[in-house]
């Protein structure tokens, strides 16, 4: 292996790891914290493991050939094609099989390059406009390579799984980082371009080697076939793809429910202090509205699924099933260290400096805890105008019940439960339960309330189902959302609208029907009473 390149890649890996460390130390403001999770930290090690395996899989000759080949390829792609599709057209389907191994390596190399770019971040800072365009091209190419690799590789190469896993996340991640921080992205693309320019002179020298390798492609294809025979299933690959495309998938379900469940995250468990790793996010990270950012336009999203849907608007290559598939978190065989979170607010019991520190279980817990405990309650219930919440899910939960406290005391206090009211009147002298204004409507009202509860229950379950369906069938729903809302779609918002609609409109109708029903009911009960007297 070319020592220089090797050094570069190593330094890239180091820088990557360093960057992760930095991020976990809250270095970058507004950084997507979900990606700052263990997977990334694992990645460094993964990369080191898989990379050396390759030489052993191919003979030395191939090895010596393939490094330059990679450089050529990347240059071929980067240099002449302002159009994204060119990169795809460059690919000869017949060469796909034979070039598969190259593809892997190429991706590796591209990744390394980008990493080295990151490594040398801040050294170049001019020609911003050009660089933006370049950056877009590079990212598009990279993504198209990945997609191409995925779509053509199909059920190939069990060994590819590892490489894919190890490479793709980094690429996607880097892309997203680039998107997230514009200045950083510019720097990155500049750096990239610089590397490309540096390597252009070598390109002609490598052309021959490419051909040579093509001749030797038979070997490669045989190898591929052999591996193929081992029966690598497509869905396994899909799993890989899913895991590649983005981390934080697992946090989404929690995020969707986004209720209070995990504020007291670690309360039940008694983890000995040293048995887990304590992470602490900065306040800005916790309060960041978006955690996923478009690499192209920089738009932020709460969900990676929404981001993927948004990406579709940037080109056809994002519309493939693979690009839209839900990323799958890789199941590592290594025993991962348990992670717990600390609240950045010093003095809080959830802060790691606290004597009786109680860690929070998940990032969501951190989020909810921080908002509830250390932020202003900015969401006011629009119905009662008194209750305030800092977590919007709390407000929604409240709104479900607000105004529906049917048990009223003479002092004006309302209760949602009869036993609470009775406890209240038993406690306070002179307080009495208040009857409904019109006694004839009492049954009607109670029925109506029950009815509303039923409706709410339905809404709730619908909500829930809907939310879960957005998670499970991301494609369907999100595609729809993107088509309609041009990327502004979020299941949360949708739920909210939907809920509001169901909540507001059927109510008058319900009252009407119920009151008529109660009238009928009272009539019939009178009748019963008469006949019963006999």
């Amino acid at each position: 292996m070319d020592p220089k390149l090797r050094r570069t890649s190593e330094s890239a890996a180091k820088s990557c790891a360093q960057m992760m460390g930095d991020r976990s130390r809250n270095f970058n403001l507004g950084q997507p914290f979900i990606q700052c999770n263990p997977t990334n930290l694992c990645y460094g090690g993964k990369h080191e493991q898989t990379f050396p395996e390759f030489p052993s899989a191919l003979d030395t000759e191939t090895q010596s050939l393939y490094q330059p080949e990679h450089e050529v390829k990347s240059i071929n792609q980067f240099k002449p094609s302002p159009n994204v599709n060119n990169a795809i057209l460059d690919w000869d389907p017949r060469l796909v099989l034979s070039n598969l191994s190259f593809l892997e390596q190429k991706i590796h190399q591209v990744q390394d390059i980008v990493r080295s770019i990151i490594n040398q971040e801040g050294q170049f800072s001019n020609r911003a406009n050009e660089m933006v365009a370049q950056r877009q091209l590079v990212t598009a190419d990279l993504t198209s390579i990945i997609i191409q690799l995925i779509s053509t590789a199909g059920s190939l190469l069990p060994s590819m799984k590892n490489t894919l896993v190890s490479t793709n996340p980094s690429v996607g991640q880097v892309g997203s980082i680039v998107g997230a921080r514009t200045s950083f992205g510019i720097n990155g693309s500049q750096q990239q371009n610089e590397v490309i320019h540096m390597e252009v002179p070598k390109a002609s020298a490598y052309d021959d080697l490419i051909e040579g390798f093509n001749n030797r492609g038979n070997e490669g294809s045989e190898l591929i076939k052999g591996l193929n025979a081992q029966g690598n299933e497509g869905d396994e690959l899909m799993k890989c793809l899913k895991s590649c495309e983005g981390e934080g998938t697992e946090s989404i379900p929690v995020e969707d429910h986004e209720v209070k469940d995990c504020d007291d995250g670690a309360d039940g468990e008694n983890l000995p202090p040293g048995s887990y790793e304590v992470l602490q996010l900065e306040k800005e990270e916790i309060l960041a509205p978006h955690t996923h950012f478009c690499t192209i336009c920089g738009k932020g999203f709460k969900r990676d699924a929404n981001l993927r849907m948004h990406m579709r608007g940037h080109g056809d290559e994002y519309k493939t099933a693979a690009a839209l598939a839900k990323p799958h978190k890789e199941s590592t065989s290594e025993p991962a260290l348990i992670k717990r979170y600390s609240c950045p607010f010093v003095g809080c019991k959830r802060n790691k400096e606290h004597k009786k520190f109680q860690p929070l279980k998940t990032i969501l817990c951190v989020k909810n805890h921080y908002k509830r405990s250390h932020c202003d309650k900015s969401f006011t219930c629009s119905r009662c105008n008194t209750k305030k919440f800092s977590v919007i899910a709390d407000l929604k939960t409240h709104e479900k019940h607000c105004g529906r406290d049917k048990w009223l005391c003479s002092c004006g206090t309302t209760f949602s439960r009869k036993d609470k009211l009775f406890g209240h009147v038993a406690l306070f002298q002179g307080h009495t339960p208040v009857l409904a204004v019109d006694e004839a409507n009492v049954s009607g009202i109670s029925d109506q309330v029950q009815g509303n509860e039923v409706i709410n229950g339905m809404v709730g379950s619908m909500d829930y189902n809907f939310a879960s369906s957005t998670l499970d069938d991301v494609q369907i729903l999100n595609i729809k959302g993107v088509d309609d809302g041009r990327g502004c779609f979020s299941p949360m918002n949708f739920d909210a609208c939907n809920f509001g609609g169901l909540d507001e409109f059927p109510r008058p109708a319900f009252e009407v029907s119920e009151s008529s029903f109660s009238f009928l009911c009272s009539g019939s009960s009178n009748f019963i009473q008469r006949s019963g007297d006999n």
Binding site: D419, T432, P433, V442
Partner: protein, 703 residues
């Protein structure tokens, strides 16, 4: 005036009094017709009215001693102005027949303390408001049970205006809701409240009552099925004065029991059919913990089938003052009886009892006064003899349907419990004349004796009539008795008030005439299916001036003549059943309509009465309940007129074939006045069923 003081003031004696006064003072006032008073006013003022010398205190004393019969007081008030005024001021209780005239009535009676609306078919809010305005704080008690047409508005008026209201009965007001309950809750001084079968009242309503009426001592919530533990708990926590609490048929659980059992004055707790209180067993652990100083005296857990022994004992452990215990469909009693030394009454009905339990009863509760084993199986002579030998002070014994009882038991009962006042032994078929002889010989204090459906014969009856204090004698279905025995009853039992001769076919006019002569205070007589009875019997009975209930169903020889005699003689008559007395026709009805102004209930099925007779009945303003099935002479038009005319009717039982023949608006109008229709479609069955066949039929039927 001495005459007044000496007079024995039984209700029937009033005419005598009036005559005394009249003869002494030669006052020509006609007591029945007020008109002469007006005519004579000038004269009376000129020659000083002798009655004016009577002070109001004396008049009040007289009025105090007048019986409950409204006619007496009416007569009294018609004597003269001062009597009238005295009666107006004296009267404390008013039971109007209709509520629309209440305002004027109350103008006459300013100091009514108790208003009884049970006779009114409808009580409007206006009437209640009038009462509230007129009586104000003098009103203490209102009975609105089974009344209709009033609402929370009227109740609220009552509760707010009548500050000393202590008693309201709203039982059977099915339609009352929480609004009415809230209105009641404004009566701060309320002490007794009946809400039986107010099924629409919920916890909110009862909470208003509990919070508004802290002085409640008695609360009956029988079958208020919407109430739950929450409401009852609040009642128990807020009404600390409660002495009596009836929670029958409520869907409550043991959750509210701790609160109830902490009531310091609770004496009477009724929990029959509270399915949730099975409960008592599970509740016992917590009950043990509570410190209870209950002085429960009556504890009724009839048909709490799941009540376990342990739970009961845990309650009764703390209830050392428990006096009475009612246990229906129950259960081993042994385990807790020892702990209740002051228990006075045990009522076990429909139980299977083993001899060990009976032994326990015998040995433990030494001060038992009342013992009831009605319909209990497994009671033998031996057990019963043991018990009565231990409880010599027993006053009341009920061994209804204890079919294994023989003369042996009776010998022991009569020898040990000589102070027995009540003995019920219906259907004890193995008891022979020896047993009856012993009853008559030894139990001289007996006041109530039920020998229905036993093998009583004339000798036995003669022996039984030795109990000269008898006021109630039930010897229905005793086929072996005839006039011979009954004559002895007439001779020896002058205090007899209730006589049941149901299907005693041997009885004829002779026996009844003996009763009529010998039992002047007879109130109720049942001669149903004594088919040999004729008008003569009724003529004899017409001497019983207090007779209010007469059943001569299925006595075909009785005619209008007899009924007329009764109507003229027995002015107190309130219930009359002449079903299948085919000879009774319009003449009888005319006399009833003229004289029996107190008649409330009449059954005329199968009689020969026509429209004319029914219209005559319409003049009885009290008449509330009519059953007229299979009246041949009745036409739809006549019935229509009757329905128009009888404006006090509350219940009318008619054959369903008539339903379509009466105009709908008439029915609606009648219903709006407060009358209920019951439509029967029983087929016409003219001939009487002979006793033997009837007996077989009734035996064959599952009970």
């Amino acid at each position: 005036m001495e005459a007044i003081g000496r007079s024995s003031w039984s209700p029937g004696a009033l005419p005598t009094l009036t005559f005394d006064l009249v003869s002494k003072n030669s006052n020509p006032y006609n007591r029945l017709n007020p008109r002469p008073i007006k005519k004579m006013r000038g004269e009376a003022e000129q020659q000083r009215n002798p009655f004016d010398s009577l002070t109001e205190e004396i008049l009040f004393l007289i009025l105090d001693r007048l019986g409950s019969n409204p006619v007496d007081k009416k007569s009294f008030s018609l004597v003269c102005k001062s009597f009238y005024a005295a009666e107006s001021r004296h009267r404390r209780t008013l039971a109007p027949l209709r509520s629309d005239l209440l305002r004027r009535i109350l103008a006459r009676y300013p100091s009514i303390a108790r208003l009884d609306f049970t006779l009114c078919p409808r009580v409007t809010d206006g009437a209640l408001a009038a009462a509230a305005d007129a009586l104000r704080s003098s009103l203490r008690s209102v009975d609105l049970s089974r009344s209709k047409a009033f609402s929370s508005v009227g109740l609220e008026k009552l509760a707010v205006n009548c500050t000393s209201l202590v008693e309201i009965d709203l039982s059977y007001s099915f339609y009352l809701n929480d609004g009415a309950a809230a209105a009641i809750g404004r009566a701060r001084n309320l002490e007794r409240l009946w809400l039986a079968k107010c099924r629409r009242i919920t916890d909110i309503g009862i909470a208003r009552i509990a919070l508004g009426c802290p002085k409640l001592r008695l609360l009956c919530l029988n079958e208020c099925i919407k109430l739950t533990d929450l409401g009852i708990e609040l009642v128990a926590s807020k009404c600390k004065m409660l002495q009596s609490l009836d929670l029958s048929y409520l869907a409550i659980t043991e959750k509210c029991l701790p609160a109830i059992l902490q009531l310091p004055y609770l004496e009477d707790l009724s929990l029959p059919e509270c399915v949730g209180v099975d409960a008592l067993s599970q509740g016992c652990t917590s009950l043990e913990v509570l410190d209870m100083s209950i002085r429960q005296q009556v504890f009724d857990i009839a048909t709490c089938q799941h009540a376990k022994c342990a739970g009961l004992s845990s309650i009764t452990n703390r209830s050392l003052g428990l006096r009475q215990m009612g246990l229906t469909y129950y259960i081993p009693v042994t385990c807790f009886l020892q702990k209740l030394p002051r228990l006075q009454s045990i009522k076990l009905s429909d139980c299977e009892i083993t001899s060990t339990e009976l032994k326990a009863i015998g040995t433990s509760c030494l001060s038992l006064k009342e013992l009831s084993f009605s319909k209990c199986s497994g009671i033998t002579d031996e057990d019963l003899s043991f018990i009565v030998s231990k409880h010599r002070d027993l006053l009341k014994l009920d061994i209804t349907c204890c079919s294994e009882i023989t003369d042996v038991s009776l010998a022991n009962i009569t020898s040990s419990c000589t102070s027995l006042t009540s003995l019920r032994m219906e259907s004890c078929n193995l008891v022979s004349k020896e047993g009856f002889r012993l009853i008559g010989q030894r139990c001289h204090l007996l006041e109530e004796l039920d020998l229905t459906d036993t093998d009583l014969d004339n000798e036995g009856l003669k022996a039984v009539s030795g109990c000269f204090k008898l006021s109630s004698l039930k010897i229905g279905l005793c086929m072996n008795i005839n006039d011979e025995g009954l004559v002895h009853v007439g001779k020896c039992c002058p205090k007899l008030q209730v006589l049941d001769l149901y299907r005693c076919t041997g009885i004829t006019d002779m026996g009844i005439s003996a009763i009529g002569l010998g039992c002047p205070v007879l109130r109720m007589i049942n001669l149903a299916y004594c088919s040999d009875i004729t008008d003569d019997s009724l003529r004899s009975l017409s001497k019983c001036l207090n007779l209010d209930t007469l059943e001569i169903r299925g006595c075909p020889q009785v005619s209008s003549v007899g009924i007329s005699a009764i109507a003229v003689g027995c002015r107190q008559l309130t219930k009359l059943d002449v079903k299948k007395c085919y000879d009774i026709n319009d003449d009888g009805m005319l006399s009833l309509g003229r004289f029996s102004q107190n008649l409330r209930q009449i059954n005329l099925s199968y009689c020969s009465v026509t429209d004319r007779g029914l219209l005559a009945l319409a003049s009885i303003s009290c008449l509330q309940n009519m059953t007229i099935l299979h009246l041949k002479g009745l036409t739809p038009n006549g019935l229509k007129n009757v329905l128009w005319a009888c404006n006090g009717l509350r219940k009318m039982k008619l054959h369903s074939s008539l339903k379509s023949l009466i105009p709908q608006h008439i029915l609606e109008y009648t219903q709006a006045r407060g009358c209920m229709f019951q439509w029967s479609n029983k087929p016409y069955q003219a001939e009487l069923v002979p006793n033997e066949i009837w007996k077989q039929q009734s035996r064959g039927m599952p009970v």
